[in-house]
Amino acid sequence: MSRHVACTAAELPPGARKVVEVEGREIALFNVEGRLHALLNRCPHGGAAICAGVITGLAQSDGPGDYRMERRGEFLRCPWHGWEFDMATGQSWCDPRRTKLRNFEVSLEAGADLVRGPYVAERYPVTVEDAYVVVEL
């Protein structure tokens, strides 16, 4: 398990998304109203680059004719076949056990803490003044 500086906090403000490469893997980073998510940028169903998906909620129903939207902003819908993934867990709504999007621990860290280590900050200049998005692989 290693922790990697993915980008500066300023590069991922609320509403933003960004693809970074960490240890040869494409990771899609999202900031949804301050909540950070780091997901492998490949849909487990059909292989789409999932970063291009729409952030949405969950359409729910208690029976035919009833329709409501819940948990807005918590789901990512694949840009191809529309599979919906819970961004917090990576689980798909329709097949949570078998079809799961790899998700990674992600946090915001102060540059002052990072400079002390032991985090891997390869090829990324870290300064004490800034804050950084750190992904754990």
């Binding site: 998304r17 960004k18 693809v19 494409e26 940028n41 169903h45 059909g46 292989g47 789409a48 680059a49 970063c51 291009a52 998906g53 729409v54 819908r77 840009p79 191809w80 076949h81 529309g82």
Partner: protein
């Protein structure tokens, strides 16, 4: 929202033939330069007149992005599928396409009600495919769009294009006005057989003036999407039972985007009934399943996804591994990525057949 596009890495070394790629017009007026002056004015004055109530809308709303992969909108504008560079960068290059077959659905002559204008739109669409796509990307091949409801004009268009190897098949909507076994369509089959070209059946968004199910209009897109298979079943049955293959023994049909897992069940049912009703159709010299296996090919997308993939293998064993053709449906939302769509084990030979060799043989690609 047009989210950042991330390039895919090439994941396989086998070159493939993609039997279903949809080119789109950049602007609504894109066909104008390809229309004769009279028809240009007609198009601008009256517009198109398709075989359904709504001339510029789909009868059933699509799930997202107008039915497109939402990552296929060109950065420089225009609809999905209208930018050759994006098609190359996003699909042809990374998945190693050796040949890609165009299926031009938008505003061809297949759906137009005005007979002479339908013929003009077909000519324009076919010239446009070659000029805008095949000439600029030698991996692409065109399909001859025909005014299918006006067979005499359709024959003329087949004869105009056949012989030019940039056209490798004839395209017909799988939602025709009549079941395709009807004798009024037979001149098209005669021309296809003479030209040595297969006929590709592909569903278009329009419904040919009929509800898309035998019991009326679907309420949901989930229902509508499924009926692609139901209309293919009806057409295959009509062609077989109508005696088309007794009259045209070298005719070949490709079922594009209509599924294939239903084929054995249909054949068993038809064969079972044939034994009882043979007197009704004495023109049939063989069991229906024999025509189905001999005269039909099937593209794979959207591939069926059973819980147990071995079920699909058994179905392909029945149909024949030499009858399936890989297709992606780029840029539509239900795109099948060749590296991900086939979730069952295949031998190297089976893989080569489905991804490349079957299409090479059927379409005589070179």
């Amino acid at each position: 929202m047009n989210a950042p596009f991330v390039e895919q890495k090439a994941r396989q070394t086998l070159t493939i033939v993609d039997c279903d790629i949809h080119p789109a017009h950049r602007t609504p007026d894109e066909l104008l330069p390809y229309l004769e002056p009279h028809w240009r004015e007609h198009y601008q004055t009256y517009g198109v007149h398709v075989r359904q109530a709504l001339s510029s809308a789909l009868m059933v709303p699509r799930m997202m992005a107008g039915g497109m992969r939402s990552d296929t909108l060109p950065e420089r504008g225009g609809p999905a599928g209208s930018d050759l560079g994006m098609l190359q960068k996003q699909h042809l290059d990374p998945v190693n396409v050796e040949f890609g077959l165009l299926m031009a659905l938008s505003k061809g002559g297949m759906e137009e009600r005005n007979p002479a204008f339908a013929a003009a739109m077909s000519r324009a669409t076919n010239d446009w495919q070659v000029d805008r796509w095949v000439r600029q990307e030698p991996r692409l091949r065109a399909g001859i769009v025909v005014p299918q409801e006006f067979p005499e004009a359709a024959v003329a268009e087949i004869e105009r294009c056949a012989g030019d190897r940039r056209y490798v098949q004839i395209m017909i909507s799988s939602r025709p006005s009549d079941p395709l076994g009807h004798p009024r369509y037979w001149p098209i089959y005669e021309a296809a057989e003479r030209a040595g070209l297969p006929i590709g059946l592909h569903p278009v968004g329009y419904n040919g003036g009929h509800p898309s199910t035998g019991s009326g209009w679907p309420t949901f897109y989930l229902q509508e999407h499924y009926v692609f298979t139901a209309c293919m079943e009806a057409l295959a049955t009509s062609l077989i039972v109508g005696g088309v293959f007794e009259r045209f023994p070298n005719l070949k049909f490709v079922m594009v985007e209509g599924g294939f897992a239903w084929a054995p069940a249909l054949a068993w049912r038809l064969d079972g009934h044939f034994e009882k009703f043979r007197k009704e159709v004495p023109h049939l010299k063989r069991r229906p399943s024999e025509y189905l296996r001999e005269h039909f090919w099937w593209t794979t997308q959207p591939i069926e996804e059973p819980e147990q993939s071995r079920h699909l293998v058994e179905i392909i064993d029945w149909i024949g591994w030499d009858r399936l053709l890989y297709s992606s449906d780029y840029p539509h939302w239900d795109y099948d990525n060749p590296s991900f769509a086939f979730k069952f084990p295949m031998t190297e030979e089976q893989r080569r057949k489905i991804f490349r060799d079957n299409a090479f043989a059927l379409y005589r690609l070179a």
